[in-house]
């Protein structure tokens, strides 16, 4: 037998099973730094597990993804019906930096029923990374609805707290200058994924903007590889954040003196650091592209982004014209 390098498909875990539900939360925010950071720095910041590689890609956009951290849990799971469900297993968390500018932290687990009715030795759960086994039967719809509607302060499994802690670790890095060029909100995307059923053979995507920071996404899809679904949700959260942030900046700019030529200068940081980051479905497995396409049809992310981008460009052009005419008038009256 020879030594060599291979990349292996994640085939042995998380086979599609109608009795499984994947739960996750993604937090997205502007990196606390005054400029886009280079790839090497992103790599150092995301080196969260000793000896494990940060995955780096340059195309079609710079993206750095941390190794996955595992946390052990043994707690109640929120169920919409109020049924008491206990689960034991592990949650995976990871972080990423896109374009040297946007940071994301995500936590996720796949929940399914255990074969045994008692807690097994810990080695059993450690051999199934990112899986939580419940004691007793579960209704996946009940768990998915319970997770989506879960209050943040609850004693049940709290993926929100885990993703927040991950976000704080990255944003608190001593390698950042903590002087971002603009004020932006952090958003949260809470998601669930259930497998396709006989009633829903073509999948289902429900996206909702719950308030100014919380979004929810409920998927029914073929969950062959849950890590890919997580990547899709992270990608969606990134684009939702870009859109929300740009909308907010334009709104803020217009609340000032919208027609003043200087107003456009306030959009400068957004023009510099955000406009080029729109790259829907980058690094997403092709099998999940239909989910993006379905979302585009309903929510029109790209249409709205292009419209906002054009509006900013028009404003820049108009301001330039205004400034030029001011200069011209000034020189004519001398």
């Amino acid at each position: 037998m020879t030594s060599g390098t291979s990349s292996v498909h994640r085939a042995t875990t998380h086979r599609p099973d109608p009795g499984l539900v994947a739960l996750g939360e993604v937090r997205t925010g502007l990196l606390q730094h005054s400029a886009a950071i280079p790839h090497q720095l992103a790599e150092r910041i995301l080196q969260l597990v000793p000896g494990e590689r940060v995955r780096l890609s340059q195309r079609p956009i710079a993206h750095a993804l941390s190794p996955e951290l595992m946390a052990g849990v043994d707690c109640r799971l929120a169920a919409a019906s109020g049924t008491h469900i206990d689960g034991t297993g592990t949650v995976l968390t990871r972080a990423s930096i896109t374009g040297g500018t946007v940071v994301q932290a995500s936590a996720r687990a796949v929940v399914g029923p255990a074969r045994a009715d008692h807690r097994l030795p810990w080695s059993h759960y450690m051999a199934r990374p990112g899986m939580i086994e419940t004691r007793g039967k579960i209704e996946v719809d009940d768990l998915a609805a319970g997770f989506i509607g879960q209050p943040t302060s609850s004693s049940a499994l709290d993926l929100s707290a885990l993703s927040r802690r991950m976000m704080d670790v990255i944003q608190g890095s001593s390698q950042l200058d903590h002087a971002p060029r603009m004020r932006t909100k952090r958003t949260r995307l809470r998601w669930t994924a259930r497998t396709v059923t006989a009633e829903q053979p073509h999948g289902l995507v429900e996206f909702a903007i719950e308030d100014d920071v919380l979004r929810t996404l409920q998927l029914r899809t073929k969950i062959d590889r849950i890590a890919m679904v997580a990547s899709l949700c992270e990608n969606l959260a990134l684009h939702d954040w870009l859109l929300s942030t740009l909308l907010e900046l334009i709104e803020r700019e217009q609340r000032g003196a919208p027609h003043a030529p200087q107003a456009v200068l306030r959009l400068r940081p957004a023009i510099d650091s955000l406009l080029h980051l729109w790259m829907p479905a980058a690094h997403i497995d092709e099998s999940l592209h239909p989910v993006w396409e379905a979302l585009e049809r309903r929510a029109g992310f790209t249409r709205q982004w292009e419209q906002l981008r054009d509006r900013i460009r028009d404003q820049v052009t108009l301001s330039a014209v205004t400034l030029m005419s001011v200069v011209t008038e000034g020189s004519a009256s001398e």
Partner: protein
């Protein structure tokens, strides 16, 4: 039209290491056992030999069909906790006394090689992969294990420390094992201690690293960390530090790491190995490595359980 595009740095990749079916540890001796002399070593190997017979090892390797399994043997020398005599005399003594009982040592490893090997901080690497066994009502937000240097298999007995003097006194409660079968067998393991800022790893912790190396489960930046160095000289240096972490003594030996391990040890090592199994149950092996090894074993017609501890077998000898 089909197209493909990839970036090597973006892919999940881990090295695939050469694997035997079974790694057999012929012994693990403390410094005093070795310094007890050649006769005592000879007596030790005579006790071990019947249990390392080919038929027994073939049964433990559990390969399918009539194939002859790949089996390698190893021996761990403790050069970490005590000053040993010179390898120039100890290694020939070991090899010769083993050979007198019909045993052949393929690989000789140094215990300090479980701390650092080839610039890779192995002990720290494993410590960084510990995921503590969660007690009931753990939602994943527990403090990191490295703060305490101890690892247990349950909930410790609540104790009021001096800094908590103002709090109401808690009644005594027993420590509880997680996932116990009615009654607890609670175990609390010291992973390391520290004097003058220098950390000394505990014997069970290094023995856990040793099992992970033998099972081919460790990677550093995706690379293999176990690269035994062939030793084809007739003599050995005066100092252990001048030897590689793992020496390959027979050129045609089957690979050092294996799908399964078997350790033949004196009965006094039983508590250490209980601790080793408790530690191993809490080590997060890279998922890609876990999957790769299960897939490879399937490819060889074997059924390898996903749990690491189920790949480890022992024989404890009466003394």
């Amino acid at each position: 039209m089909e197209s493909s595009f990839r970036e090597a740095t973006a892919e999940e990749r881990v090295a695939s290491v050469p694997l035997s079916h079974l790694s057999v540890e012929l012994g693990h001796l403390y410094a005093e056992d070795i310094s007890a002399g050649r006769d005592s070593l000879a007596a030790y190997f005579q006790r071990v030999a019947p249990w390392a017979a080919e038929a027994r090892l073939t049964a433990l390797a559990r390969v399918s069909g009539q194939r002859r399994p790949r089996v390698s043997t190893c021996f761990l020398v403790d050069d970490y906790f005590a000053r040993l005599g010179s390898p120039a005399t100890i290694i020939p003594d070991l090899l010769e006394t083993a050979a007198d009982s019909g045993l052949h040592i393929d690989y000789l490893a140094r215990e300090s090689g479980c701390v650092d090997a080839d610039q890779v901080p192995l002990a720290q690497l494993v410590e960084g992969h510990l995921v503590p066994d969660p007690a009931p009502n753990s939602t994943g937000l527990r403090p990191a294990v490295s703060e305490a240097g101890w690892l247990c298999n349950g909930q410790r007995s609540p104790v009021n420390g001096p800094s908590e003097a103002m709090r109401p006194v808690l009644p005594w409660a027993p420590a509880v094992e997680n996932g116990r079968r009615r009654h607890s067998i609670f175990l609390d393991i010291e992973l390391w201690d520290q004097t003058d800022g220098r950390r000394t790893w505990s014997c069970p912790f290094l023995a856990a690293v040793w099992q992970l190396l033998r099972l081919g489960l460790l990677r550093y930046q995706g690379r293999d960390v176990v690269v035994p160095k062939a030793w084809d000289h007739d003599t050995y240096p005066q100092e252990w530090d001048d030897l590689p972490a793992i020496l390959q003594l027979s050129p045609r030996a089957a690979p050092f790491s294996a799908y399964r391990t078997f350790s033949i040890l004196d009965g006094r090592f039983l508590p250490v190995e209980h601790a080793v199994r408790t530690i191993l149950a809490q080590v997060a092996v890279e998922p890609l490595v876990l999957e790769q090894i299960v897939e490879r074993s399937n490819g060889e017609g074997m059924r390898l359980a996903p749990e690491i501890s189920s790949r480890i077998a022992y024989l404890f000898l009466p003394e």
